[in-house]
Amino acid sequence: MSGAIGAVGASRQFTKFVLRMRETGVLVFLAILGIAFSLLTSTFFTVQNITAVASSAAILAIAACAQAIVLLTRNLDVSVGSMMGFAAYLTADFAATHPGISPIVLVFIPMGIGLVLGTINGLLVAYGKVQALIATLGTMSLYRGLIYIYAHGQEVTSSRLPHWLLGFIDARISGIPVLVMLAVGIVVVVSLFLQYFPLGRRIYAVGSNPVASFFFGLRSERIVLLAYMLCGLLCGVAGFLYAVRVGTVTVVLASGWEMSSLAAAVIGGVSVAGGSGTVIGAALGAVVLATIDNGLVLLNVSEFWRMFIQGAAIVAAVAADAMIASSIGGAFYARRPR
């Protein structure tokens, strides 16, 4: 008996080691990228440029974090970009038409919108039993189409947004942009929630073994719904921050972010087969993507290489994931119920 428990402990330690290795792998990759770009360009390794990379990674890190929570439950959300755009447009429009609104109220609007949109996704997937890809592909076009209809081709320009809002996003505390601090704070809070709270552990449980978690007595529907709600909430926040950062809010804001957020999460070691990976890893994946972006711009490489590299990186990361999983014992991939 004690031998069996010892074996379980050992295998858990080994799994933890591999997972830790995965994040170290991302860090090593990031370091190699950094060194390569600093050698190739003279402008990469400057305080100014590193700050710029961190700022552009910050919002993607929040979106990747949102995507990662859903991926952990063995689902997927391709409506991330549309939810961000939806929350951003409505909030910016509201702020423009109500200039005197208090900051605290304004912050809750995108969160509320994101929560509602995420809940719709969650209900469809968890209770409607619609495959995650199909459901969110539908809502992706639904949400985006609704913004188009609502906006009538109008856009909200930065001159119509409150000044304090635009000032806040550029603010720095001892050289570090507030945006970056905010992103780090959100990622750390979500990470602590997933690691140490029972509800967070259940998100992992449902994704890593639905059958076992059913016999354990977990209500997977509720947990999947919760994951989608959290995803929507974070997307609302990310969309709002993105809108304020960009300044001019158009109807196509953040389209294509479902790809980037997924790429960041998968590169950061979050498995699409669910149950494995961390949001810290997803955030690191976002930093990797932002670094590649920045380096390619400095190297004067066409932006279309970015698309290619991002796609190839997803495939490579998924393949690496499968290799690690099969080296653990292939339990994840070979025997996952369909």
Binding site: L133, G138, S141, G145, F304, R306, F308, A312
Partner: protein, 329 residues
């Protein structure tokens, strides 16, 4: 099980037929110009390209996998065709090369999914970006429009007394071919059996990996044909060709009664749902609905199409429940 599918699916196809007629009646009320042969054949243009992709996707879906990179393969195909045209190749040399390039793109997806056992959704999401990036890198941002007229006949000319567009004939031929393949050959039976139970199919001697790779390759080849039609219809080739059309394609396949988890569905259902979506889109165009509204309707139809089996199951359970009660009383 087989009895249930046999009785359940034809009724769904019947529902689709009724819906098509209803959509046609609705469209003809919107516009007096709707009910003319020219207009109806003209409207088929809108769904030929996604239709060819949907036929390919239906094969992939029947094995329980998915391929969302097909629209990007179309872009690779059009850009490849533009390069071949610029290099002075004739259409009869260029067209087979484009179809082979499409098949190769599909094969790469298939190898990654079937041979290495990677999740098809993540793989094709990756290759979706990679292929489109590739199309942009090869074709540059500026589109190519200097196609010779010999490259355009497949999309612009008409047959049978100038009525039926050639692209429509291409689609009909492809649909009949895929129908025969999926419902009248061992290959098709193997596809559906893999979708129902890959392990049991493997034990029964089906070469699961090979069959899956072949479905992906065929889907890629159909995307190559779609690229030829694209160039014929629009006369231009650019990296963003067919961007965003995957929503229409997936909607058509799901609404056509293909089980997204594999193993169930018919090609005729997919073709009927294409006709339905084409009619609705044509009608919405006549009624001056904007593009965004059409997208919303498409999204709702997609979700509705997938919710359909769940709703039917709930209805059946309710009916059984009430009949049990009556029997008990």
């Amino acid at each position: 099980m087989s009895m249930r599918t046999r009785t359940a699916i034809p009724t769904w196809e019947l529902v689709l037929c009724v819906l098509i007629v209803a959509a046609g009646v609705w469209s003809s009320k919107l516009s007096p110009y709707y009910l003319s042969i020219d207009q109806i054949f003209e409207s088929t243009r809108h769904f030929i390209i996604p239709g060819l992709l949907a036929l390919g996707l239906a094969m992939v879906v029947s094995t329980g996998e998915i391929d969302i990179s097909l629209a990007s393969i179309v872009a690779v195909g059009t850009v490849a065709l533009s390069k071949l045209a610029a290099a002075g190749f004739s259409i009869y040399v260029a067209a087979p090369i484009v179809i082979v390039i499409g098949a190769l793109c599909g094969t790469l997806n298939g190898v990654l999914v079937a041979r290495y056992g990677l999740p098809s959704l993540a793989v094709t999401l990756g290759t979706m970006g990679a292929y489109r990036g590739l199309a942009f890198i090869v074709g540059s941002e500026v589109g190519y429009t200097d196609f010779d007229d010999s490259f355009l006949w497949i999309g612009s000319e008409k047959l049978f007394g100038d009525i039926v567009p050639i692209s429509f004939c291409v689609f009909v031929t492809a649909a009949i071919g895929v129908w025969l393949l999926m419902h009248r050959t061992f290959f098709g039976r193997h596809c559906f059996s893999i979708g129902l139970n890959p392990d049991a199919s493997w034990f029964a001697g089906v070469e699961v990996v090979k069959v899956k790779i072949r479905t992906y390759a065929l889907a890629g080849a159909l995307a190559g044909i779609a690229a030829l039609v694209w160039v014929g219809q629009y006369g231009s080739a650019r990296g963003d060709n067919a961007d965003g059309s995957i929503l229409f394609v997936v909607t058509a396949v799901v609404l056509g009664g293909m089980d997204i988890n594999g193993g169930r569905g018919t090609i005729s259902g997919v073709v009927l749902s294409l006709l339905l979506l084409g009619t609705i889109r044509n009608g919405m165009g006549l009624a001056n609905f904007g593009g965004p509204t059409q997208t919303v309707v498409l999204g709702v139809l997609l979700v509705g199409g997938v919710l359909r089996p769940a709703l039917a199951a709930t209805l059946a359970r309710l009916r059984r429940h009430t009949s049990d009660k009556q029997a008990g009383a």
